[in-house]
């Protein structure tokens, strides 16, 4: 990271030019003027709708008259396989068990952290109950080099990709081990090692970024064909998909053939706004078609279907000149939106309890595993106990840990701290030293020394 050169002299750089990449991307031809409307042609020749045939029957297409896109499912709510053409077990037993344990870990972590917030031990949390299957299932089909863009309810993705409970706790308690240096609200996870870009609160902003990142991955491979083919994967909810960023992202991904898989968690709610108030069309899946994107709708509670869809989507995204794929995973948001929400203010408790009891990704997989003899009540008890114990240990350790040093308030705004920021850091130090009784800097690593330069 070289600093910007100091003034007075502008350095003239002489370069040895490397091999220049010059090939033309055939996927984005510039407009070729075509022949004018041919006589007696049955199709339109306008540049905007080249495949459209003329009709003399005036029909307004009514989307409500079209059948909704089907929802792909391999395993039903009782854990029985209904799609016998696929082997859901394209992974060994112990790998499937790991998925199960990961979903269980997420679910137990969620309960503990939700309660911790209610007890005032943490400021905020978001539970992903009911949606663990979407997160773990899709993540199980990704490669380590794939770039992940999350919204906020995908802790299962983080865990499946290798983040640890310790990593989670560091972020949740904003302590000195937090990669985010204590700058973000709880659940805004990120990991360089696991290629997860740190979560930001504004919704849908990550979606066009995922398109751009996918384009970069494609370009990198064009520059160096030895680079492993990778995708970017982008998670968002059905509410976020109303934002302009969603539309911009899909449109650019399609026109520029970006190897990105969009995963929409359609859980029926955006805080208190039910999906019937969020959109009129056939979910988010119908929009993919509008943008010229291959799309599938899956049962989000069926971890096998979710995983299969992602495996296939990834292949499609990387084939040939690449393209985006949209997966709409249906589920139900069992949890409140966050700890700042009481969802019983806008929905019946009974409805939630029924979903919780009747069908969720964890019990579905458990039933399948038990039928196969891979799991039983004892294993369940043991798993829950050991997971809970581990979580509580990490919780306790993280809660006691020091917070990041005060210098981290000023660092990373720019690559190098500017003279202004250095001066401001110095000023803050002066203030705290002038009024030592007014500030307790001891929770922060290095205390007041954390402002030394």
């Amino acid at each position: 990271m070289r600093p910007v050169p100091t003034p007075a002299s502008a350095t003239v750089t002489q370069h040895v030019y490397p091999v220049r990449f010059k090939s033309t991307d055939s996927s984005s031809p510039s407009y070729q003027p075509s022949v004018s409307q041919r006589d007696h042609s049955d199709s339109v020749n306008f540049p905007g709708a080249l495949n459209s045939k003329f009709t003399s029957t005036m029909v307004f297409q009514n989307p409500a008259e079209k059948a909704a896109m089907s929802t792909y499912r391999i395993m039903d709510a009782d854990g029985n396989i209904v799609d016998n053409t696929r082997d859901p077990q394209n992974a060994p037993d112990q790998v499937i068990t790991t998925w199960y344990r990961n979903m269980l870990t997420v679910s137990i972590l969620d309960i503990i952290m939700f309660d911790a917030q209610r007890q005032g031990r943490t400021s905020f949390y978001m539970v992903s109950a009911g949606e663990e299957g979407i997160a773990v299932g899709t993540a199980s089909a990704l490669e380590p080099e794939d770039l992940c863009f999350l919204q906020y309810r995908e802790q299962g993705v983080c865990l499946q990709r290798g983040m640890t409970v310790k990593d989670f706790m560091a972020q949740l308690f904003a302590n000195k081990d937090d990669s985010g240096r204590g700058r973000n609200m709880p659940v805004h996870y990120g990991s360089g090692k696991h290629k997860i870009f740190t979560i930001s609160s504004p919704l849908a902003t990550q979606i066009p970024q995922a398109s751009g990142a996918a384009y970069a991955l494609k370009m990198k491979r064009m520059i160096d064909p030895n680079v492993k083919p990778s995708i970017s994967v982008c998670y968002f909810g059905e509410g976020a998909a109303s934002e302009g960023d969603f539309h911009a992202a899909l449109n650019i991904a399609a026109t520029k053939n970006c190897p990105v898989v969009f995963v929409c968690r359609n859980n029926g709610f955006a805080i208190s706004t039910a999906s019937i108030e969020q959109y009129k069309g056939d979910g988010i899946a119908s929009r993919g078609l509008g943008y010229g994107i291959d799309t599938i709708r899956v049962d989000g509670n069926d971890i096998f279907a979710v995983r299969e869809a992602m495996i296939q989507a990834r292949k499609m995204a990387l084939a040939g000149n690449c393209k985006p794929v949209l997966i709409e995973a249906m589920s139900y948001r069992v949890s409140h939106h966050s700890t700042s929400d009481d969802s019983f203010a806008y929905r019946a408790k009974r409805e939630v309890e029924e979903w919780k009891r009747r069908d969720n990704p964890i019990t579905r997989l458990r039933k399948w595993m038990e039928k196969k003899g891979l799991w039983n009540e004892d294993k369940e008890k043991e798993a829950r106990a050991s997971i809970r114990k581990q979580i509580l240990q990490e919780f306790s350790a993280a809660e006691k840990m020091k917070k990041p040093a005060l210098r981290y308030m000023f660092e990373d705004v720019y690559e190098e701290m500017t003279p202004d920021l250095k001066a401001q850091m110095k000023e803050l130090k002066r203030l705290i030293e002038t009024y030592p009784k007014e500030y307790d800097v001891s929770p922060h690593e290095d205390g007041i020394k954390g402002l030394n330069q």
Partner: protein, 388 residues
Amino acid sequence: MRTTNLRLSSLLLQKTTSRSYASQATTARINRKVDYEKTPVLYKTEKAARTAYGLGSESSLEWQNYTQAVCSAMHHAMKVDDNVVLFGEDVAFGGVFRCSKGLADEFGTARVFNTPLTEQGIAGFGIGCAAAGMKPIAEIQFADYVFPAFDQIVNEAAKFRYREGATGQHCGGLVLRMPCGSVGHGALYHSQSPEALFAHVPGVRVVMPRSPSQAKGMLISSILQCNDPVIFMEPKTLYRAAEEFVPRDGFNLPLDKAEVLKEGKDLTVISYGQPLYLCSEATQTLEKEMKGLSVELIDLRAIYPWDRETVLKSVNKTGRAVVVHESMLNAGVGAEMAASIQEGAFLRLEAPVARVAGWDVHAGLIFEKYNVPDIVRIYDAMKRTLNY
């Protein structure tokens, strides 16, 4: 015969360069048009350019206007680094201001391409592209249209490195370029200069080069050297009007330093973008009028983070300051200059810091010449500051 010839030739020689929608008062003495062919702000001789950039006689120079210099910078960056890509609306055919002329032909449409019409998409796509290790140049067609991208800039690009923290991930490879400023007939939606809005956001660098050569050096730095996202603002009225000698080879200019264009001891004038040329004219006029007067002219060029040191050093020397910018007065860059100057040079100041800026109005078409700071207003502010 002879009289007819004379009449004919005088008709032919009559200059028809004035356009009715942008004409000066015929009695104007101070408010003359900037003569871009003679302005000392531009390097009109090879010697001037070589001196300015410390180049020997063996270094090649090119005579270029602002668009050509921008194009040249992007061309250099793309040649040198395969990770540089350029995209935006209409950039493939050369761009509405011809800033990307020939680039798609040379580098291919995988590296120089049109996006659909969506500034939020362009910005978001650019951020993602940079986060994944490329050096994207994202073009916003007019600064007036950057607002759909405001969320991506303020909440994402500006915060990216900060929220990532120890992961080290960032989108510093991003440069967001946009033409800005008044052009004579741009009215409400083709004249805006939103630099102050971005200067109130930590995490992005906002720069506005004054000339073709400055644009080339600063753009190359922004693309190839700088690891912070850069908002690169190009005063559109200079695109064709400003022509000068520009170093042919790639070169870098700092993105966090102001430049003293003319040294002086009596008054500091700070400006950036097109008004610098007007400040130069006002300075010439006033220095002729007031014998012995020497005005120091500073090009801020880095709007934020900005070069406090150079500005304060100057005002501590002269004791008087005038700040000039096109965008509106209230809470503009001038306000920050004034606040900082009074903090850093209070006891030295002989007069309040004067600000010459657009009125707090929108850029109405027919009123432009009364809204955008002109030579008279700058001259007047300088004079009153000197006589305070």
